[in-house]
């Protein structure tokens, strides 16, 4: 079997401007949604109480909300979780109330209302933990980005490091943009997925950068554009097959992983799809515009020194 029989290099660079315009637009849209709607953080970040209940028959969320509001719980969100029989109840942090009382009183209220209600899990996070998590998450993102730039700068050239990180942070922003647009819940596993995507997309950029370097050695007479076009064309098969395989695993999580893994898998899906695009069609043009040259990657021969002497 063979999917990709590409005999002539595809002139990716000819359309570079178009691709970059597309990514700039998506990026701006993502930033816009991030600022206008904001992320819907899980209680791990905001602090608060979360209770997951399971009922024998389909749960009536309006009724549950009513029961809780009548008992004086304000700002309660009640929604189905995974299936119609499972319900997720969120309560914001209250200053003068301890976690224990809150969860226990909600549980007893709901049990009174419907004896078939079974507690699946409860979670309480203090507000202080939440803000720390958000800070640590940002630090992790920065550490990853800086680490990757340094590594790529050492292994290749600073232009590749910068291009790769711009391309891949653009993926991260787009994932976040999706989460803001659809108000999907941004939880710790999603954060883990985002960071994993960052590492994974950089893989892609590395594979292409590797090829570009090799091509500079092999294709002595070719222009930079031709070198890059060839590198992308020759790795496209691997790019798509690898991403397809990873996506197969992620899709399986999306189908079988249930509600707990849903957003995790969703973040990965977006990351993988945009990862292909960004590393191929964003990173490579950026490298060119940063002015990559054959001499950047292939050490100039020691001849220069002799000339100086002469």
């Amino acid at each position: 079997m063979e999917f990709f029989k590409i005999r002539r290099d595809i002139p990716f660079m000819r359309h570079a401007l178009l691709f970059n315009a597309i990514s700039a637009l998506t990026f701006l849209a993502a930033v816009f949604f991030l600022f206008s709607r904001g992320l819907h953080f899980s209680i791990e970040f905001t602090g608060g109480t979360l209770i997951e209940m399971s009922y024998a028959t389909a749960a009536d969320t309006d009724r549950i909300r009513g029961v809780l509001q009548k008992a004086g719980f304000e700002d309660v969100t009640v929604q189905n979780f995974g299936s119609s029989r499972d319900v997720l109840i969120r309560l914001p942090v209250k200053r003068d109330q301890t976690s224990a009382d809150l969860a226990t009183s909600v549980l007893s209220l709901l049990k009174q209302d419907d004896p078939s209600a079974e507690r699946r899990r409860t979670e309480f996070v203090g507000p202080q933990v939440g803000s720390e998590l958000a800070r640590d998450g940002l630090i992790a993102l920065l550490v990853t980005a800086i680490g990757i730039v340094i590594y790529l700068a050492l292994r290749f050239e600073w232009k590749f490091g910068v291009a790769a990180i711009i391309a891949n942070l653009h993926d991260v922003v787009i994932i976040l943009g999706f989460f803001a647009l659809f108000q999907w819940e941004f939880s710790l596993p999603v954060l883990a997925a985002v960071l994993a995507v960052l590492g994974y997309s950089v893989n892609e950029s590395v594979v292409i950068a590797d090829r570009i370097r090799e091509n500079f050695r092999r294709m002595r007479r070719a222009s930079v554009t031709e070198v890059i076009d060839n590198a992308i064309t020759r790795t496209i098969s691997r790019t798509i097959i690898t991403h397809g395989c990873t996506q197969a695993m992620v899709t399986s999580m999306l189908f079988f992983g249930g509600a707990a893994l849903h957003y995790f898998a969703l973040a990965l899906t977006i990351g993988i799809l945009f990862g292909i695009y960004s590393s191929v069609l964003v990173m490579a043009p950026l490298v060119r515009w940063l002015g990559v040259k054959r001499e950047d990657l292939i050490r100039a021969p020691a001849k220069r020194k002799d000339e100086a002497v002469v």
């Binding site: 997951e52 301890t98 699946r120 202080q128 640590d136 883990a192 990873t246 707990a260 995790f264």
Partner: protein, 631 residues
């Protein structure tokens, strides 16, 4: 060209064998069990206990599937969770007839079903995290400032006593924030006091000051001593938790320090959060203090209703505070007003034991044991205080409550009794708290999770299914696309999974749902290495390389790329480890390990298979790696 030296094959074979061996225990599963262990030093769990347990279970007609006696106690296996619960209740009733005076700790447990020979090789299954087996999770924050303040208060008392012994006159010792301020009439006395402090209290550093014509000493705790006090406070709280968890009867609890001032407590299998929290979280510190004045009765010393009255109006003498004893519903009052010395004689950390009992008049009592130093202090203080009253305070969340203020009947030592105001149940409750130790510094819960058992089972199933079907999909595709080399790739990926599980089992890592997701994701990403290799071999073939050369060059060229891309993935993994707490950390550990094992399996193991199959053939006509001819 494509031959490995024999030692590489041996290494691969050994790695596979070890991987298999250490992954094996995870497949046997676990059976519900009840663990009976001794709650006291004096009580031994031996064959006699085992026999008693078996007779009791037979009498109660509860079928069990096995009994095992080892160093930790007796463990009884049951066929299912229902029987396990019944078994626990029956055994609790039979072995611990007296509530509040437990001789045995009876805990629900899970026992690995793996055979003995595996266990003797330390091949044990992974722990399942709370999200997979159900249970409660608490994260406590320890108030370390409070520990320092308490230490300063204790020190100021000791300094006073020291000054009294040496007949050194001072104009008062008070605490201002984290500083002790000692006032003296003149500089000469102050210098003497300073020398005394230097000798007797090495953890303090003092500074001489003259303020408003008064000679003062300002003493603070040295930074290194401060650190020590805080470390000790955390350690003591952790050990207190251990004791309290034992009282709860939980097996395999996780109690560990997290960060500078946090303690994580995970109790697998526990569903009754309220009770767990009550026992764990009653941040009870015990303090013994002398009563300076009371209006209780003239049969004890310091009977001074006038002083109490004045105090109620707001004039509280220096160094004392007004407290009310616990209100008594039967008498319908709000408790007896007492003027207490601020000086703490003893705190709960000097306590070595406490039990409920009855005194000679058959009144409920609490018997208290102190350690040697505690006994000495108690003796020194009570020698001159017979017929004075001593208050026992329980400090919860910074609010002290006078539990009782009995009259000291004689000089007390290492052992003494509190009698009087308790009913038997109260005595049992108090002794339980005292026995479990008291916390050195107050704590608050900043994170709490409860996972029901049904959710845990669901999560295991979901995690397993997603990995399985993802793996199947990848395998089918790889074999269809790359033929024989696809088979090698799939075998390499299986090796990766095997090694990853083996390492996690050897590390005795805790498997969580994010951990399972990380395994799945790592597999999905690890196939990249094989795709790179296979594509490269195809490319070389297409360009006219001979089959053997194509294989060799393919592996060689792909290696650099695989290394680079894995290093970048590893950077992200390590960043996750850095921020990691809880679920993210589990994810990161698996992710990082998976990258390392994938390097070995995708490059070395798959190459070993290729070399074994094709390496010896001199005339290899084609490579079964799918279609490479484009014409």
């Amino acid at each position: 060209m494509n031959r490995y030296p024999i030692w590489v094959y041996i290494t691969v074979a050994v790695a596979l064998a070890l991987g298999l061996l250490y992954t094996l225990p995870n497949f046997y599963g676990e059976t519900p069990a009840v663990q009976v262990s001794s709650a006291r030093v004096t009580i031994k769990v031996d064959e006699a206990t085992q026999a008693a347990i078996e007779t009791e279970l037979k009498r109660a007609e509860i079928p069990y599937t096995g009994v095992l006696l080892d160093a930790t106690g007796v463990r009884v296996r049951f066929a299912n969770v229902d029987l396990q619960g019944k078994g626990k209740d029956a055994l609790s009733a039979a072995l611990n007839p007296k509530a509040g005076d437990e001789q045995y700790t009876i805990a629900l447990n899970l026992m690995a079903n793996s055979p003995d020979w595996l266990r003797s090789l330390h091949a044990l299954p992974m722990y399942l995290g709370l999200d997979l087996r159900g249970g409660v999770h608490f994260l406590y924050r320890v108030n370390l400032d409070e520990a320092l303040v308490k230490r300063l208060d204790g020190l100021s008392g000791n300094i006073r006593a020291q000054f009294r012994d040496k007949s050194l006159r001072h104009n008062g010792i008070s605490r201002e924030g984290r500083t002790l301020v000692l006032r003296f009439r003149d500089a000469a006395t102050r210098d003497k006091a300073r020398a005394l402090l230097g000798d007797g209290f090495p953890e303090l550093v003092s500074e001489a000051l003259d303020v408003e014509g008064e000679s003062r000493l300002q003493a603070r705790i040295r930074p290194e001593a401060e650190k020590q006090i805080q470390d000790d406070a955390i350690k003591q709280n952790i050990s207190t938790f251990h004791n309290r968890v034992n009282e709860l009867g939980v097996s395999e609890p996780v109690i560990q320090q997290q960060g500078a001032d946090r303690i994580l407590v995970q109790l697998p299998g526990v569903q009754d959060t309220a009770r767990a929290k009550e026992i764990l979280g009653r941040a009870a510190t015990l303090e013994f203090r002398l009563v300076e004045a009371h209006a209780g009765g003239s049969d004890s010393r310091d009977f001074d209703p006038a002083k109490i009255e004045a105090a109620m109006k707001g004039t509280v003498p220096l160094g004392t505070e007004l407290r009310f004893s616990r209100s008594d519903a039967r008498r319908g009052d709000r408790g007896e007003p007492l003027l207490l010395s601020k000086q703490v004689i003893l705190t709960g950390d000097r306590l070595t034991g406490a039990s409920a009992g009855f005194d000679q008049n058959q009144r409920a009592s609490v018997n208290i044991d102190l350690d040697a130093q505690g006994g000495r202090i108690m003796r020194d203080v009570t020698r001159d205080a017979v017929k004075r009253r001593m208050a026992v305070l329980l400090v919860e969340k910074g609010v002290p409550e006078v539990l009782t203020a009995p009259v000291i009947q004689s000089e007390l030592g290492n052992r003494f009794q509190i009698t009087g105001l308790f009913n038997p149940k109260e005595a049992a409750d108090l002794s339980l708290l005292l026995r479990a130790g008291s916390l050195a510094a107050p704590m608050e819960i900043i994170e709490e999770r409860t996972v029901g058992p049904s959710l845990g089972r669901d999560n295991i199933e979901k995690g397993f299914n997603s990995t399985l079907w993802g793996f199947v999909a990848i395998s089918l595709f790889m074999i269809a696309y790359y033929m024989v080399f696809g088979v090698f790739s799939v075998l390499a990926l299986s090796t990766n999974l095997l090694l990853l599980l083996a390492i996690l089992s050897i590390m005795q890592a805790t498997l969580t749902l994010p951990g399972i997701a990380a395994i799945a994701l790592t597999l999905g990403m690890a196939i990249d290495a094989n795709v790179l290799i296979n594509e490269r071999i195809r490319e070389e073939l297409r360009e006219g390389a001979s089959p053997q050369a194509a294989i060799a060059v393919g592996y060689e060229r792909a290696f650099g790329t695989i290394l680079d891309s894995n290093v970048t993935t590893l950077i992200a993994g390590i960043a996750l480890l850095l921020i990691g707490s809880g679920p993210v950390r589990g994810f990161a550990v698996v992710h990082c390990l998976g990258i390392l094992t994938s390097m070995f399996s995708a490059i070395v193991v798959s190459r070993a298979m290729v070399n074994l199959t094709f390496g010896r053939r001199r005339r290899l006509v084609g490579v079964p790696i799918g279609n490479t001819a484009w014409n």
